[in-house]
């Protein structure tokens, strides 16, 4: 099946007085209909910026310097603000961490849903309202036919995020970009919201890009995962492979540093140091100063995504021409 | 990143300096403000004449027009007034008084306002309520009215010769007292935010005294907006002083400020001697406008949301 979203060599730059910062560099991936791509990484890795670039909401002065974003085969990275705004409602649904940024506090949730449905699907008032209530029921809001006339502030945090999901889905978009949709919610509520999102995406054949720092959420929800580091994709592949048998030394460290729930370990695996700032990305592979496997080439040449078994990893260990190969344990997981 | 050392290097490397350089209006304002301030402060060194030295005054020089007009005299570049005083020198000495009053008034209102705002915000409760209601009441009176009121009370209370001696302080007090609520409100707002931040809690955990926390932790973190308000208020204070002096209730005529000069010159405007009032007026506008534009820039440059 043709992918819904194609991102090709995306590069995002921030011109500053100290020179141009490259926030995203050579980011490429696809998302197929009904597929959930998880994008993980630590703060500043560029995961949220990837989402923002796709939906045309980069914070100025950030701009797409090169590369392409294609939605159902059509380029959308070069559209104007108005055109992009229309696409954001109809073809791309966006869900952010804070539901209050998406909801208009002055209108009832019903009115916001009805407006969106009418703008994009052109239904009459009664039909649109019926649909709106249907969506609220589908996202699990109890007594939807009464709550439809409530204002956003009358809902609790978890319920509000459900309303946002309904709002993002009601125009039946092809793609959903969800940026940390559950981070602001309590654990017991998170599970409900994730299950909901995943179910809806599957049923409607919607492609979803799920940006989060929570590996647990990714493991539960995503089909494929992209691990980002310092503005680039370090590894991309099927979720099970990336979580269970990561190939890039950074993914390996990241997975190992997650504290396990089912046992106590005396010393957690940790990656020493911190991710470099955008203004001080080292030459070669950006991870090389923290990498336990680093060798000569890593400090000089920047690796592109290479085949590493079931996943693709931007690491010289997987280049047959390198003088060093991945340790046995890492190659087979 | 170029590693610059020393305070000058740090300043030239700072974001503030960068945003300054990028705004031509601000650079021009800064140059104008600098000329005004230097001209005022260094008046005794730079002014061509001493307008207060009666020995050098010659009534024969009275009403000379600016140097470039037909009857002009190169010795008096901007002409002379009714007593033969050099207008340029009078402006420079007058600006000195205006600036002195303005700066002192702003410093006074800053100190009062910051202290009140800090205490109100940090202590909270009834103290906060009381202080802020006083500020609210004060804000309902136009500041000029307050200044006139203070001046009137002092005039009625002390003998004339004493009044002349303390007139300068009265004006400073009158202008300063009308501006403090603005500082107090801003500082109170920032203090409310800062006092619940974890670094303040950390200091409370080890038992640092409240006064010490206010002065060493909260105060340095609420001063940013104060600098902006102070700059904007300097323009206002200079203008307020000019207004009071124009109305004849400001500084004594023995030490004329820009406002006094404008008032004196005003009498001759319709008899054709326009330069006596217009040039002090232009100087006043240049000074106030440049200071205000600098304040606007500072406000924008320090506000991360507008950047």
């Amino acid at each position: 099946m043709a992918p819904i979203l194609e991102v090709r060599n995306l590069r995002v730059e921030f011109p500053t007085r100290r020179g141009t910062l490259v926030a995203l560099d050579d980011v490429s991936f696809d998302i197929a209909p009904g597929e959930v791509l998880g994008v993980v990484g630590e703060s500043g890795a560029g995961k949220s910026m990837t989402g923002a670039a796709i939906i045309g909401l980069l914070e100025p002065p950030g701009r797409i310097a090169s590369g392409q974003v294609l939605l159902a085969g059509k380029r959308i990275d070069n559209l104007g603000y108005e055109q992009m705004r229309r696409i954001r409602g109809r073809e791309i649904g966006a869900i952010f961490q804070d539901p209050l940024t998406t909801l208009n506090p002055l209108y009832t949730v019903g009115r916001q849903l009805v407006e969106t449905i009418q703008t994009h699907l052109g239904l009459n008032d009664a039909e649109a309202r019926r649909r709106a209530i249907g969506w609220l029921e589908m996202v699990g809001i109890p007594a939807a036919s009464q709550r439809v006339d409530s204002y956003p502030h009358e809902f609790s945090g978890g319920m509000r995020q459900r309303v946002v999901i309904a709002l993002a889905l009601c125009a039946e978009p092809k793609l959903i970009v969800a940026d940390e949709p559950t981070t602001a919610l309590d654990v017991s509520i998170q599970a409900q919201v994730i299950a909901l999102l995943k179910g809806l995406a599957r049923d409607k054949g919607t492609a979803m890009m799920l940006v989060t720092h929570d590996m647990g959420v990714i493991a539960e929800t995503a089909d494929r995962v992209a691990v980002m580091y310092a503005g680039r994709i370090a590894e991309i592949g099927p979720v099970r492979e990336v979580v269970k048998h990561p190939k890039h030394p950074y993914s390996v460290g990241l997975m190992a540093s997650i504290p396990p729930l089912d046992r106590r370990v005396e010393h957690l695996a940790q990656i020493d140091g911190a991710m470099p700032r955008l203004s001080a990305i080292p030459p070669g592979c950006a991870f090389n100063p923290r990498c336990p496997e680093v060798f000569g080439r890593c400090r000089v040449e920047r690796p592109d995504l290479l085949d590493a078994g079931a996943t693709r990893a931007a690491c010289w260990l997987y280049d047959p021409a390198s003088e060093k190969r991945a340790p046995e344990a890492m190659r087979h997981g | 990143m170029a590693a610059q050392s020393g305070p000058l290097g740090r300043m030239l490397d700072s974001d503030l300096w960068w945003s300054f350089k990028r705004s031509p209006v601000t650079v021009v304002s800064a140059v104008v403000a600098l000329i005004c301030i230097l001209g005022a402060v260094l008046a005794p060194l730079l002014a061509p004449h001493d307008p207060f030295d009666l020995a050098t005054l010659n009534l024969g020089d009275a009403f000379k027009p600016p140097a470039w007009s037909q009857d002009g005299d190169m010795a008096f570049p901007l002409g002379t007034d009714d007593q033969g005083r050099d207008v340029l020198s009078a402006i420079m000495y007058g600006a000195r008084i205006s600036l002195l009053v303005g700066v002192c008034a702003v410093v006074f209102s800053t100190i009062v306002g910051v202290a009140v705002g800090l205490v109100a915000g940090y202590v909270g409760g009834a103290v906060d309520g009381l202080l802020m209601r006083i500020a609210d009441i004060q804000l309902t009176f136009p500041s000029i009215l307050i200044a006139l009121l203070v001046d009137g009370v002092v005039r009625a209370a002390v003998p004339r010769e004493v009044h002349d001696r303390i007139a300068l302080f009265v004006v400073i007090f009158a202008i300063g007292i009308s501006a403090w609520p603005q500082f107090a409100r801003t500082v109170r707002g920032s203090t409310l935010v800062e006092r619940n931040k974890e670094y303040v809690l950390a200091a409370r955990v080890i038992g640092i005294s409240q006064i010490r926390i206010m002065l060493t932790h909260v105060l340095p973190n609420v001063l940013g907006p104060v600098l902006v308000i102070a700059t904007l208020n300097l323009g206002f204070a200079i203008l307020a002083e000019a207004t009071l002096s124009f109305l004849g209730v400001g500084v004594p005529p023995t030490e004329p400020s820009l406002g006094t000069l404008i008032r004196i010159g005003n009498d001759f405007l319709f008899s054709g001697e326009w330069w006596i009032t217009i040039f002090p007026g232009v100087a006043l506008i240049a000074m106030v406008l440049s200071v205000n534009l600098l304040g606007d820039w500072l406000r924008d440059a320090l506000n991360p949301r507008l950047r």
């Binding site: 729930l261 | 809690l201 080890i206």
Partner: protein, 351 residues
Amino acid sequence: MVETTPMFEADDLARYFDVSRPWLQRVLAGEGRRTLKAVDGVSFRIPKGTTLSLVGESGCGKSTVARLVVGLYRPTRGRVLFDGIDLEQARAMADQRRRMQMIFQDPYASLNPRWRVRDIIAEPIRAFGLIEGGAAQQRRVGELLSQVGLSPLDGEKFPHEFSGGQRQRISIARALSSNPEFLVCDEPTSALDVSVQAQILNLMKDLQRRLGLTYLFISHNLAVVRQISDRIGVMYLGRLVELAPAETLFEAPRHPYTRALMEAIPDLDMTGRQRIPVGGEVPSPISPPSGCPFHPRCPLANDRCKAERPALIPARGTPETVVACHAVEEGRDGAAFVTMNQRMGTTATAL
């Protein structure tokens, strides 16, 4: 066994907040005062050299407990002893106050942005007069920085020059500078990225071993809590619902809420187990449900749970656990209890 004085002991600790609207609005709307019972009768003891963790979702009162423990709030009710001394008296004595310190959640707000790191770390040293002389103080600051894995030269910098994880190290160095014995840690890793979180947790465990510290650790993350705790208390709406040794709590969680929390955590091992999300939302602590506060969401609730508030008593089957649940007391949790144990068993073998 000789019972030594615990480092900290709380008995029926409570803290209420007045959240009424202003007087005039209250009169106009004809409503009374409203009280938020943030902490409502919590008892625990922390033996020296051990870690007690309090877990729960936002609004459960765990951070309020942390602030009560270091004296940032005064308790509305209850008895609190710091090493056998009444807390208020202990707080009044500098040499007792020095022994307790706090580490906060937000590494961007917990360091004064206008101070140099060396002054931040030296503040407790100066406040308690621990070391005389600037040079000696700076030597100590350098030692502390090395102890938390930073360079002594970092003292000259300002907080904004550091990453979140490094700032949290600075916070720890500052807390250690008064040679404390008891550290209250309020979500110290929840603002950090996962690889950095591991660094900080390792550092805290290491410091505990080396310096014999006692921790009260507040967190919403059960996996983090498991790594660091000796005992764990689960809080819900201002009360402890279960308190147990760490291993016991994870192997045999008894309270339905504890079990629900564990169920809700996304499964990283992808054993394919179906998660059963807890229904409903946390009720408002201003008007908590009658009886057991968890009853509206509890699958085991019956009429007694709606009417009568359960006391925290030793649980049948796991006597080291104290749990506030009628169902556990009456043995009505049997079936669910067994399934949970089996499921945890399979997860462990799958690894």
